[in-house]
Point group: C2
Chain length 439, copies 2
C-alpha cells in the first residue's frame, strides 16, 4: 500500500468539523473550557458524535479520555492525540486543531477504504492545560499512572480535581489507588504516537514554513513567591528600608533582577515568565492580609508566580538556585519575609523519536510542503507519552507535527491558524500515520 | 478664669470612653469602619450617647456629621474635631483618639462648672479616609461646600457616595446643589479649630516627646496607572520586547524607576507610595482582561496606584511631570499601552496658624510636657478647615496637636497609642481650648 500525493485533507473538511466546536465554551473574549468541566465534556461529545456518524468506533478510558479508533489488520496501533480544554480567555486552536486534524485523518481513511496494516487511533485527552488545577496533562498522566498524588486535591472553582473527575465520569477512585490505568498489554500494542499541534510561537511564520518537525519539548518549573511586609501610613512613614517593609517595592525589584538574570542566559534554551501578580484566587485565599493593601498604605502583603521552561532539567535546576538567591537577598534588603514554593516541576523531552522525525520530514518532502525542525516551547500530552516508561520498560516512540500560529499568539482570544494550514498539517499527519502503519 | 496645672484628664477617663468603641467595626485583623457605612454611624452614635449622658447638647449637620457642644457666654466657638472611620484593617486610634480626647475635654469642662467665655464644640466628621470612595475628608468638605463634583458618583461596595450619604441620613441631594452647607454666619462664629491626632509616624517616639505641635499638613496627588499588553504563551514566546508586550515586566520596571526618582528627591519634603498592584475592585471591574492573567501566559493587563505627599504643591506638580515621563517611556520600551489618571489632588497646608501653634507650645511648657514642632505627613480634616475660604473671605485659624504612635505604625492592626499618651494630649487640648476660649 503506497501513499499518493493526491491523498489530501481539504480546508473545507477542517472548517466543517470546526463549525460545531466554535460555539462550545465561547466567552466574551475567547474561550473557557476548563479541565474536567461540563463544557470540556460537551466539546469531547461533539467530536464523538462526528466519529459515530463516520462509522468509527470509540470508548472512554477510566480517566474519561475519549479514544476513537479504526481497526487495522492486526492489534497494533499508530496513535494521534490532543486536547479540547483551554486556558480561560484562550483560543480554539491550542489542542483543538490537533483533535480535528486527527479526526479528519481517521474519517478520511475510513471513507477511502484504505486498510492500513496497523490500526489508527485518536486519543482525545482531558485537562492538558494547567490553568484550572495547576497540573498539566491530567488525563494522559492519570491513565499512564504518573499523576502526582498531590494533584487529586488541587482545587478549581471550589471543587477538587478528584471530585471534578468523578463528576465527568472518570473512575478517579480506582485511578488514585493505581487501578484501571493502561495495562502492560494495552501499552505494548502502541507502535507510535504522533501529535499535531499549533506552534504557539512565531518561528514557522517568520521562516515561511508550513510544518515544524518537533525535535524536543520544553519542561517547566513553576513556583509561587509569597511576601509579607508591614502595612504603614503612606504619608507619615518616611521612605527607605529603615522605616518601611514595602512588599510592592520588593516585588518590583525581584522581578527586574530576575529579568536581568534571564538576560544573562540569553543564548541558552530557557524562557522565564512572571504571569501573575496578586491575582490567583487560591493563593489569595491563603493570604487574607492581601485585602488590606490600599492606595494610602505601604503594601504589607503580595505574591507572584514564577515560571521557567527549558528542554534541559539540569539547566533549569541550576537557574532556580540563582532565582532563590535573588528572591531571598532582595526580601532581606527590603525587610520583608518571603516564601518560594515550587508547585510544579515538569521534566522536558530532550529528543523526540528520530525515526518519526525523519518520517514526518520525508512526507513533507514528498508532498512538496516546506518544513523545518524546531523544539517545542510549550508542554504537550505527547511529552507524557514520550517520557513515561511502559510497564515493560519500553518507551513509546513519539513525534510531533507543528503548524503555524498567526503572529505566534496563543493562550489568547487572538490565537488563530487558518483552515488551510490545519488541512496541510492534517495531510502530513495522514501520510505519516499511514507510513508508520504500513507494516 | 485661669487654667490650673492640676486640671488634667486621666488615662482612666480615656480607657472608659474607649471601652465601648473597641467592639464597633472590629474584624479578624484590626478594624473596618468605612465612610458613610452603618458601622461608622454606630460608632458616632456611641459617642453621641456618652455626650447625652454627660448633659452635652448635640445636632447633626446636613452631611450627617455629629456636632457636640457646650455653650459659652457668647455665640463664638473654639472647636475641635476628628473622625471615626478607618481604612480596612486599620486601627482604632487614627481619628478615634482625637474624638475621644475632645469628648473628654467637653465632659471635663461640663463637670467642672467652668464657664469659658466662648463655647466649646466637637465635630465628629464622617469619611476622612479615602479608602472607601477614593476621596478624603468627605464630611468636612461636603459641609464646607468644597467636595468635588465627581466625588458623588464614586463607588464603594456597589454603592455611590451619594447613595451611601443619603442612607446614613445626610441630605446629599441639597449639598450637591450647594444648599444646606455651612452658612456665612455659622462660619463667622468659629474662632479657632484645634484637632488632636496620632502622629502616624515615629518622630515623637524616637525623640522622646509626648506632644507634637503641628506646623503644616502634607497634601497628596493620587493616580491609577493602567496597562495593556498582549497575552502570549509563556513557553513558546521568546523573551524580549520584539516578541512580548509583558505588562508585569513593564510594571516592575516602572516601579523601580519611580523609586529611583524618589531617591533623587531624598532631601525634600516628598514621599511616594505604590500601595496597590492589581487589587482594587473598582479599577479591576473596568479591566475585564485582568482575569486572563495566568501562570502560563505572558501578562496582558494590569494596574497600580501611585501616590505622592508633600506640603508643597509646586514640588508635587513638578514631580508628577517626571512620573508621567517615566511611565510613558517605560510603557513604550516594553510595547504596552498605558493610561495615567490622577483621581485625587489634595493641596497641603504649608503653615497652620502661628498663634495657635504658640498657644499649644505654651500650655505644654506650663504643664511640663515635652513637645516639638513637626509637619503632618498625613492629611487631616483640620486641613479642610484651614484651607477653605469662608463665605466672608476669612480663613479659620487652625492648629493641630500630635500624640505618639507606637513604632510609627498606623493604618494597620498594630496601630497603638497608650491611654496615658491620649490623656496627656487631651489635657493639652483642654488647656489650649480653654486658653483660646478665654476671651
Amino acid at each position: 500500500m503506497g501513499n499518493l500525493p493526491n491523498q489530501t485533507i481539504t480546508a473545507q473538511t477542517i472548517t466543517d468539523i470546526y463549525a460545531g466546536l466554535h460555539a462550545i465554551g465561547q466567552i466574551d473574549s475567547g474561550y473557557d473550557r476548563p479541565a474536567y468541566s461540563d463544557v470540556e465534556t460537551a466539546a469531547i461529545r461533539y467530536i464523538q458524535g462526528l466519529a459515530d456518524q463516520a462509522g468509527l468506533s470509540h470508548y472512554w478510558d477510566a480517566a474519561a479520555n475519549l479514544i476513537i479508533e479504526l481497526q487495522g489488520q492486526e492489534d497494533r496501533w499508530v496513535e494521534s492525540g490532543s486536547h479540547l480544554d483551554t486556558v480561560p480567555g484562550g483560543g480554539n486552536y491550542d489542542g483543538a486543531a490537533g483533535v480535528i486534524a486527527a479526526l479528519s485523518v481517521l474519517i478520511y481513511v475510513k471513507k477511502s477504504q484504505l486498510r492500513p496494516y496497523k490500526g489508527l487511533r485518536l486519543r482525545v485527552w482531558r485537562g492538558e492545560e494547567s490553568a484550572s488545577f495547576g497540573v498539566v496533562s491530567i488525563g494522559a498522566r492519570a491513565i499512564m499512572g504518573v499523576l502526582p498524588n498531590e494533584a487529586w486535591e488541587q482545587m478549581h472553582n471550589g471543587q477538587s480535581l478528584y471530585a471534578a473527575m468523578q463528576a465527568q465520569g472518570a473512575d478517579a477512585k480506582a485511578l488514585r489507588t493505581g487501578m484501571q490505568g493502561m495495562t502492560s498489554a494495552q501499552q505494548a500494542v502502541i507502535s507510535a504516537y504522533v501529535e499535531l499541534h499549533i506552534e504557539q510561537g512565531n518561528v514557522l511564520e517568520q521562516s515561511k514554513k508550513t510544518i515544524g518537525v518537533v525535535t524536543g519539548i520544553r519542561g517547566s518549573i513553576r513556583s509561587w513567591v509569597r511576601l509579607k511586609g508591614r502595612f504603614d501610613h503612606s504619608g507619615a512613614t518616611p521612605m527607605g528600608t529603615e522605616f518601611r517593609a514595602d512588599v510592592n517595592l520588593a516585588m518590583s525589584y525581584m522581578q527586574v533582577r530576575l529579568h536581568e538574570l534571564a538576560q544573562e542566559y540569553g543564548g541558552q534554551d530557557l524562557v522565564q515568565t512572571i504571569g501573575v501578580v496578586n491575582l490567583n484566587t487560591s493563593v489569595a485565599q491563603a493570604l487574607p492580609d492581601l485585602r488590606f493593601n490600599a492606595v494610602s498604605k505601604v503594601s504589607g502583603c503580595g505574591f507572584f508566580s514564577h515560571e521557567i521552561r527549558s528542554c534541559s532539567l539540569t539547566l533549569m535546576d541550576a537557574y532556580m538556585l540563582r532565582v532563590k538567591a535573588i528572591v531571598a537577598t532582595t526580601a532581606a534588603e527590603f525587610g520583608v519575609e518571603m516564601a518560594l514554593e515550587t508547585f510544579s516541576r515538569m521534566v522536558g523531552i530532550p529528543a523526540l523519536d528520530p525515526l518519526i522525525q525523519r518520517t514526518i520530514a520525508d512526507q513533507c518532502m514528498a508532498l512538496n510542503i516546506p518544513s523545518i525542525p524546531l523544539p517545542s516551547g510549550a508542554w504537550h500530552d505527547a511529552g507524557v507519552m514520550a517520557q513515561t516508561e511502559c510497564r515493560d520498560g519500553r518507551l513509546i516512540p513519539v513525534g510531533m507535527i507543528f503548524i503555524p500560529s498567526h503572529d505566534g499568539v496563543s493562550h489568547s482570544p487572538q490565537e488563530w491558524t487558518s483552515a488551510a494550514d490545519i488541512a496541510t498539517g492534517a495531510t502530513v499527519l495522514l501520510h505519516t500515520m499511514l507510513q508508520l502503519a504500513a507494516d
